[in-house]
């Protein structure tokens, strides 16, 4: 009967339509990184050796032991003389920051970086469907996300999220938010912005565990455009393969090791406890246990299983043996972006993953050139690799970050095409890696190790500093 044939035809057409719909839904769940731009502050915001010393000298509440401690920290910080700080700190107003200082710091970053990104990618702000901004230390009302919507006159139905207080690993948390929203299947363009606010967070007290954050953090920021539209795949630089988040906050030591609080005198600062490295290692190990199956090729995975069984069953682990079974991560990953938390962090990751100097060079150099830029550091490291023309098609990049809470987040990107954009490293890439690694701060401040309370003459030293440079 014709009716039956017609009905069957209709059914077949229906099924083809639904299957095609499901397939297109799956295709739009990929997360592509179209492009990113890192912030390069103007030259008058540079912190050179003289400025660094001056800032410390200015703080009259510090005695010799604190002074020594700080200078030792700077010497061992792994930072060079071209890092950047906010204006109010350089101008001597660090102890009394105003609201406008903080907003100005953000505006300077947003105006240059986000503008550059839109120009580079030729995407209009009105095309942005999703906006995620993460800035830990400053959260005004209306939010910074609203500030961006206002500045760029974005659409009324833009989904804006302002993530705050999530520490140095917040950049990957923003990417996670974007990735999850992409899974709905609707074609979306997302703008993710990552930075840190330093102006309002200067610690004006004497507690050594809290002064560290004054010395270690530097200005930085980055803006990324992402999409799940398969039509933009050809333009995209990288594709996100997986993202793993680990939160060890359930452990009290991990939660308390980095905490913003008031000291005994009532000054608010970021307390960095002595058990921070241990908490970081715990979080790192837990994160990697989930990451390993996703990054290693099958052969290496099989070898890992074999070695683990051998270690645990044949030779039971000794007391406090936290070492992971020997794995060569370079079989699954080509490039490593490690959060530039400090030389200790980079060294620890290098030892833990058994990497070479070449693998951790981008992180060390980013730390040297830009300092610890908190959550945005990964993008400076990535930019270094791109500027050095290391990123080739189908390479895999691993990003690892650590943050307060204590969190360890990691993700893997697959490079879509050969990349060679020097970006923010354009003027300095030829100087890296430097020929000598003599610490410039050691040269200028190394004398501090020899001083004692009797011999230390602050005024004389300050005068000397002024006449020298």
């Amino acid at each position: 009967m014709e009716i039956l044939a017609t009905l069957t035809m209709l059914l077949i057409l229906c099924s083809i339509y639904f299957l095609w719909k499901l397939y297109s839904l799956q295709r739009t769940t990929n997360c592509y990184l179209i492009d990113y731009v890192c912030f390069k502050p103007p030259p008058d915001r540079m912190v050179n050796r003289k400025t660094a010393g001056e800032i410390i000298e200015r703080n009259r509440t510090l005695g010799l032991s604190e002074y020594k401690f700080l200078l030792k920290v700077i010497i061992n910080s792994g930072m060079g003389v071209e890092t950047y700080a906010p204006r109010n700190i350089l101008e001597g107003r660090e102890a009394s920051p105003t609201f406008d200082d903080a907003l100005q710091e953000m505006d300077e970053f947003i105006d240059t970086t986000v503008n550059d990104l839109f120009k580079k990618t030729n995407i209009s702000p009105r095309d942005v469907d999703l906006l995620v901004i993460n800035i830990s230390g400053f959260s005004p009302a209306p939010s910074l996300a609203s500030r961006i919507v206002q500045r760029y006159k974005m659409r009324e139905d833009v989904k804006a999220y302002n993530v705050s207080g999530m520490g140095c690993s917040a950049s990957l948390i923003s990417i996670d938010l974007v990735r999850n929203t992409f899974k709905s299947g609707k074609k979306t363009i997302a703008l993710a912005i990552s930075s840190e606010s330093l102006s309002p967070n200067w610690y004006a007290g004497k507690d050594k565990s809290m002064i560290l954050s004054n010395i270690l953090f530097r200005t930085g920021g980055s803006a990324m455009l992402l999409t799940n539209d398969p039509a933009m795949r050809a333009r995209a630089k990288m594709r996100l393969k997986c993202l793993i988040r680990t939160h060890t906050g359930a452990n009290d030591n991990a939660y308390n090791c980095a905490m913003q609080k008031e000291d005994d005198a009532g000054f608010v600062g970021m307390h960095l406890g002595k058990n921070l490295p241990k908490a970081a290692v715990h979080a790192f190990v837990e994160n990697f246990q989930r990451l390993i199956p996703k990054i290693l090729p099958y052969r290496e995975l099989a070898l890992y299983v074999y070695r683990t069984i051998k270690q645990k069953v044949v030779k039971p682990p000794g007391k406090g043996n936290m070492a992971m079974t020997k794995i060569d991560f370079r079989t699954g990953i080509d490039h490593f972006c490690i959060h530039t938390g400090g030389p200790a962090v980079i060294d620890a990751v290098r030892r833990g993953l058994r990497l070479s100097e070449y693998d951790t060079e981008p992180s060390s150099m980013a730390l040297h050139r830009w300092g610890n830029t908190s959550s945005t550091s990964l993008w400076y490291v990535l930019s270094y690799m791109e500027a050095k023309k290391r990123l080739k098609k189908r390479d895999r990049v691993l990003m690892i970050t650590f943050g307060t809470g204590f969190k360890c987040n990691s993700c893997i990107w697959e490079v879509n095409k050969d990349l060679g954009d020097a970006g923010v490293w354009e003027e300095s890439i030829n100087n890296y890696p430097p020929q000598t690694l003599v610490n410039p701060y050691l040269e200028m401040y190394g004398w501090v190790a020899d001083e004692t309370e009797e011999t230390f003459n602050r005024e004389a030293r300050v005068e000397e500093l002024r006449t020298l440079y």
Binding site: C14, P142, E156, D157, K183, S184, D252, A258, T404
Partner: protein, 499 residues
């Protein structure tokens, strides 16, 4: 003379019945079309006789088994694919609000006394604050955190953290007790608190206290104003689409301690008078087994951001005054901007929720006005046909009045908002949940009822969420209104004399 109805009244009654008839016709149009078709088919069948039917049945029996099986297979595939591609339903299993203890109460007399004793306030400032309080619509039982009961208020970070722990933990404890949910089963955690964002975040504080899993997806949203509660719900919905069989805990609060303004700018003193402590914890899920005990299902979320307009962006603005004190500046055109944002939100929400009758009328009116240039007033769709209950953010008396006027709602529709403002004050993003609890406590929530939650916030944002009630809520309801619901509703005078 008094018994005879006026001609206007009769005509309006007639008009009302015409309108009702029209609505019934349009909304049930399918039924009206199907009935004649069914009648026609049955007449045809009766006329044709049983022989034809038997021959049809015999024909079907003769078909190949393979043919039948493949058709069945195809039907199953189509059915599966269809069900798989539909968005996952998001259920609200339950929610709990923070119940402040009586010792946190700030009656008008306490407010006045404290304001007078704070050295930073001069007499003019005190009088202004009290004048605002008199006209605010707040009652005598609103609460402020412990730090604000000191003279002058102690706004330290430690005190702010203490308030956060107090409000958030008690709301979450109550929620976990009510639902029997084990902390280890929570997969997603979203916290929103506008004006207090410490490091580590409040979400990390919750993970630490309840020992949540290490692979939890936690997000801490900050600075997003009084509408942030619905933004968190939207984010939770997106995450629940990406992850099946998951539970999401959404915590909405506002921490008052660090935000007490001790200056002289009038526009910045308003929040002192209006904001009060509160918190809500909501458990959302997309697990099928939760459907049985879930209270509501989330049907729509619509977000509108008017930040592109400079005036809208600046109307609620945190800044430092001339003396360097930080406070929130509320501009005078806040109401106009709120009305405008609401209109934009309704424009998107309308087609999603309004019945066909209203949409047709609106379209007809629009065409007449724009194409034929007929001078009619813009038709405001009757949202009472789409929703049974309304939860309007208790931002202040003026906001509720403005919305009641714009949406042409009755006093009973906005009663929940007014009473929540009276009993708890402006608790920012959690106010919607106090209002929902009021409606439930009054025994008005029946199965199938639709609730519209509208939130406004700095930016300027207007967000709405639509919930559908899955089972009738029986009274008495154990919630923040348990001890006071019998006294409500109260008549709130325009001015309550204090001075």
């Amino acid at each position: 003379m008094a018994n005879e109805p006026s001609p206007q009244f009769s005509s309006s009654v007639r008009l009302k019945y015409v309108k009702l008839g029209y609505q019934y016709l349009v909304n049930h149009i399918l039924t009206f079309i199907l009935i004649p078709i069914i009648v026609g088919i049955s007449i045809e069948l009766a006329r044709v006789g049983p022989d034809e039917i038997l021959s049809l049945v015999r024909f079907l029996n003769d078909l190949d088994l393979i043919y039948v099986m493949s058709t069945l297979f195809l039907v199953i595939i189509v059915g599966t694919v269809y069900f798989m591609s539909r968005p996952r339903p998001v259920y609200l299993v339950d929610y709990a609000c923070f119940r402040p203890k009586p010792n946190f109460r700030v009656p008008f007399s306490t407010f006045l006394e404290h304001a007078r004793l704070v050295p930073q306030f001069d007499e003019r400032t005190v009088r202004f604050q009290v004048k605002i309080l008199e006209r605010s619509g707040l009652g005598e039982e609103t609460c402020l955190p412990p730090a604000n009961h000191y003279i002058p208020p102690t706004c330290s970070m430690a005190a702010a953290r203490a308030e956060a722990e107090l409000v958030i933990f008690s709301a979450i404890d109550e929620l976990l007790n009510k639902t029997g949910m084990r902390p280890k089963n929570i997969d997603i955690l979203i916290v929103n608190c506008s004006l207090f964002s410490p490091t580590p975040s409040l979400s990390a504080m919750i993970v630490n206290k309840y020992k949540l899993r290490s692979n939890i997806l936690s997000f801490n949203l900050s600075g997003m104003g009084c509408s942030a509660g619905l933004i968190s719900i939207d984010l939770a919905r997106d995450l629940l689409q990406a992850h099946g069989n998951s539970n999401a805990l959404v915590v909405s609060t506002e921490i008052i301690t660090p935000n007490y303004y001790l200056g002289k700018e009038r526009a910045m003193l308003l929040p002192n008078c209006l904001f009060r402590m509160g918190a809500a914890a909501v458990l959302l899920s997309n697990c099928r087994r939760e459907k049985r005990r879930a209270k509501y299902r989330l049907t729509h979320v619509v977000r509108t951001h008017k930040g592109a307009d400079d005036a809208a962006y600046r109307c609620v603005f945190q800044e430092q005054d001339s003396e360097g004190l930080t406070g929130i500046n509320l501009s005078k055109d806040l109401m106009a901007i709120a009305g405008d944002a609401l209109k934009s939100n309704i424009t998107t929400m309308g087609p999603l929720v309004l019945p066909a009758s209203e949409q047709l009328l609106f379209l007809f009116c629009l065409i007449a006005r724009k194409v034929f240039k007929v001078k009619w007033k813009p038709y405001i769709p009757d949202f009472r046909l789409a929703f049974e209950h309304f939860c309007i953010h208790a931002g202040g008396r003026a906001v509720i009045d403005e919305l009641q006027k714009n949406l042409q709602l009755s006093d009973q529709h906005v009663e929940a908002s007014r009473m929540a403002l009276h009993r708890f004050g402006n608790t920012s993003s959690s106010s919607l949940w106090y209002e929902l609890n009021y409606i439930e406590s009054k025994g008005r929530m029946k199965k199938g009822d639709r609730v519209w939650m509208i939130g406004f916030g700095s930016g300027f944002k207007c967000n709405s969420a639509v919930w559908k009630c899955l089972k009738t809520v029986k009274t008495p309801v154990d919630g923040p209104w348990s001890t006071s619901i019998h006294r409500y509703p109260v008549d709130i005078p325009a001015v309550v004399k204090v001075l």
